[in-house]
């Protein structure tokens, strides 16, 4: 009788252990499926953990500023600069307008 009781106890332990193993497996598989969603890559990075993008300059701003420099100190140039300032105010530029302009001016002067 005592032997039978011990056998029932042992079996119950194994059944509970098996259930725990299955529950944990299910939990981890579910977690992996949640974490393993499509990862959208939006900008170039040096590595996965770095916050900054390796692309340092806004190409479209640079092109617009080259146009501005062709018309600098003219009415068209001033109007164009106002438009670029508006774009910056609306957050449509990838970097500060004045900084990039200064950089391009320095470069064109060969500094």
């Amino acid at each position: 009788m005592l032997n039978k009781k011990a056998q029932v106890g042992d079996t119950l332990t194994w059944i509970v252990a098996t259930i725990i193993v299955f529950v944990m497996l299910f939990f981890f598989i579910f977690g992996a499926s949640l974490l393993g969603k499509t990862k959208a890559i939006t900008n170039f990075k040096v590595n996965l953990l770095s916050k900054s993008s390796s692309q340092t300059h806004d190409l479209f701003l640079t092109k617009s500023l080259f146009t501005y420099l062709r018309f600098e100190n003219t009415k068209s140039g001033n109007d164009l600069y106002k438009k670029l300032t508006k774009l910056e105010e609306n957050g449509n530029l990838g970097e500060p307008l004045v900084d990039r302009l200064d950089e391009l001016k320095k470069r064109s002067q060969g500094k």
């Binding site: 193993v21 393993g36 890559i41 190409l59 479209f60 146009t67 068209s76 438009k83």
Partner: protein
């Protein structure tokens, strides 16, 4: 039950558990690393940059597009601008239709209603999908809208708007 038989049953049980756990680990790794990387955003931006570099440089519309000596647009370039910009939109692999659409519009910089020139190439069916917002629609296409200014004919300044659309949903989204 004798001890030998008990040990046999337990070893079979352990073997089954081992197989189940190994299968579970395989499934977890497969589910996690099987998810694709959606690089369409970068692809669309690269496409915009390639086109921008092709049609304008140093603040001026390219001489491939405008004949400055005669002050005229070059129709040959306009009709085949993707070829001239080294872009190939031919469908490859599993697709029958091209997965790209590109549209370049030239406006008067100070009168946005005045459309001066329009060039487009690719599958225009993807364009309306850019306007769809919300959950579920983001899987359809990825669009990139860029704009910049450049000097054109008769020292006029143009606002050049570039729209690029990349579909390739099957390759990039689960």
């Amino acid at each position: 039950m004798n001890k030998k038989a008990e040990e046999k049953i337990i070893s079979v049980y352990w073997f089954i558990i081992l197989v189940v756990v190994a299968g579970g680990v395989f499934l977890m790794v497969n589910v996690f690393y099987g998810a694709p990387y959606d690089v369409r955003n970068i692809e669309a931006n690269l496409l915009s940059e390639q086109i921008a570099n092709c049609i304008a440089s140093e603040g001026k519309v390219s001489s491939n597009l405008i004949d400055y000596s005669q002050n005229v647009w070059l129709e040959e370039f306009i009709d085949h601008f993707t070829d001239h910009c080294s872009l190939n939109f031919n469908p490859t692999g599993e697709w029958e239709k091209t997965q790209y659409y590109v549209e370049v519009n030239f406006y008067d910089a100070f009168d946005i209603r005045n459309l001066i020139l329009n060039m487009s190439e690719g599958n225009s069916n993807w364009k309306p999908d850019c306007e769809l917002q919300g959950k579920g629609y983001d899987k359809l296409v990825v669009c990139s809208k860029k704009e910049f200014y450049a000097e054109g004919l008769s020292e006029n300044i143009y606002l050049i708007k570039i729209l690029t659309v990349v579909r390739k949903t099957e390759q990039n989204v689960k």
